[in-house]
């Protein structure tokens, strides 16, 4: 059991009409591991992430969470164990911050209301928003909204956290607060797969960087080697582009 990876994705394929977005992506995550997926836009990173919890249904390939294959029959139970953080937050606009964080434990895990509220306050403290419990999403900055959405995912006690470009909808001065929360999560031993071009985060928090292009994984390795001595020319070219803009 100790050897069973938290996540094992095997040969994931996805095609939209003539466009084959994923051409057989395989990836595993051990418990407590953080991997960062990078690559040019259109390389299939986000599609792959969404395939992992069937927000997008893969055409072929298998996905296992803690050794159990994800299928139509168990998808809702599996999703309850996979925290997903969206680029544009997707908080529930009609609910206060506290209710945003507690609604899924209450409705999905049938947690007692008091217990869920207590836990929600804890998670809000953890992302530094204990004082915003009664605010509505529209009253928060983008960075605060994203931290609430991380708290919402954490309140479900996820086995795995997926981040889909969590900072790209944010103004530059707001990315820091979100990155800091993610950094601490990684340090605390959360198993995380992150699509992001936050190179600081990737360098500091990632156990491995995965470079995708054209629906393939081109190269993967620990940040220190991949960033300084990439084996592939395409990886090097991409890193140069990122360095110029970042």
């Amino acid at each position: 059991m100790a050897d069973t990876p938290v996540l094992r994705a095997d040969a994931i394929h996805k095609r939209y009409a003539d466009n084959e977005v994923l051409k057989g992506i395989s990836l595993t995550l051990a418990r407590g591991e953080t991997k960062v997926l990078i690559g040019p836009s259109g390389s299939g990173k986000s599609t792959f992430l969404r395939c992992l919890n069937h927000l997008t249904k893969p055409d072929r390939g298998t996905i296992e969470l803690d050794g159990v294959e994800i299928s139509d029959a168990n998808i809702d139970r599996m999703r309850a164990r996979i925290g997903f953080v969206f680029q544009d937050f997707n908080l529930f606009s009609h609910l206060s911050v506290l209710d945003n964080v507690s609604i899924c434990p209450i409705r999905v895990k049938r947690q007692a209301r008091d217990e869920a509220i207590r836990r929600a306050r804890e998670e809000l403290e953890r992302v530094g928003l204990g004082d915003k419990a009664d605010a509505y999403p529209a009253e928060l900055s983008g960075g605060q909204q994203q931290r609430v959405s991380i708290a919402r995912a954490l309140a479900m006690d996820p086995t795995l956290m997926l981040f889909d470009e969590p900072t790209s909808a944010l103004d530059p001065e707001l990315t820091g607060e979100v990155v800091k929360v993610m950094q601490r999560l990684a340090d605390d031993g959360m198993t995380m797969l992150v699509v992001s071009h936050e190179m600081g985060f990737a360098r500091q928090a990632a156990d491995e960087i995965v470079f995708m292009e054209g629906g393939h994984i081109v190269e993967q390795g620990p940040p220190e080697t991949l960033f300084s001595q990439p084996a592939q020319d395409r990886t090097r070219a991409f890193l140069n582009v990122i360095a110029e803009h970042g």
Binding site: N53, L55, D76, R77, R79, A80, R81, I82, G83, F84, F86, D88, N90, L91, F92, S93, H94, I103, C104, R107, V108, K109, Y136, P137, A138, E139, S149, R152, A153, M156
Partner: protein, 222 residues
């Protein structure tokens, strides 16, 4: 003016007997229309092609024909097929079916105005499609639809007056009776108008209160 007040004092008790009939006609129809309208909107937004087509056809039919014709059809036409409803029931059915078509269109618009990403986020945390709609989409859609819905509710309140034509003894029917008896048509219909105005403005301010009560920044406006 004094004459009108005197006339009103004499005729008001009789006229007011129509108010409970008008109100029950309206409340039953608007509430039934609410649920039927939700179901129709559901069919149009989330249904497969069959339900979509059925719902669309229904809405076109009832919005495209006069309510008076629908009411006559139910009260006077259906008995020829052996389907008989009394006048009150016929009026309730006609107003319900008609109102449902309009409510459905308002609901559809408000459901579609809820950002799709929130439904996805609800599914991503393990909610079923039904739960996501129940706990995330509907609470926002209902808040957003309130201004239009209030408008529709008030229109239907006034439309109950056409039930008079099939013999439901509501406010307009009573006014007409009193008019024929006293020949004071000017005064009695003026008085009937005042009663309708009091009813519609009470409903409007109640629904305005509901809007403010359920106001959420970012979802609705005040």
């Amino acid at each position: 003016m004094i004459e009108f007040l005197q006339f009103s004092a004499e005729q008001l008790p009789e006229l007011l007997k129509g108010v409970p009939v008008t109100l029950s006609l309206w409340i039953i129809a608007i509430v039934l229309g609410f649920f039927l309208g939700l179901a129709l909107a559901w069919a149009r937004v989330y249904g497969n092609r069959f339900w979509y087509a059925l719902s669309t056809a229904y809405i076109e039919l009832f919005r495209g024909t006069p309510m008076l014709v629908q009411m006559f059809f139910i009260y006077l036409g259906l008995p020829q097929l052996g389907i008989v409803f009394d006048a009150f029931t016929s009026a309730v059915i006609a107003i319900t079916l008609n109102s449902a078509a309009y409510q459905a269109e308002y609901f559809r618009g408000s459901v579609l105005s809820v950002p799709q990403g929130q439904l996805v986020a609800a599914r991503a945390c393990g909610m079923t499609q039904w739960q996501a709609i129940r706990y995330v989409v509907l609470p926002q859609a209902l808040r957003r639809v309130l201004p239009q819905w209030s408008n529709e509710a008030i229109i239907e309140l006034k439309f109950t007056s056409i039930a008079y034509t099939i013999g439901v003894v509501e406010i307009t029917a009573r006014a007409s009776d009193i008019g024929s008896r006293t020949l004071e048509f000017f005064q009695i219909f003026l008085l009937a108008g005042v009663i309708y105005l009091v009813l519609t403005s009470s409903v409007a301010s109640f629904l305005g209160w509901v809007e403010r009560r359920y106001y959420v920044p970012g979802v609705t406006h005040v």
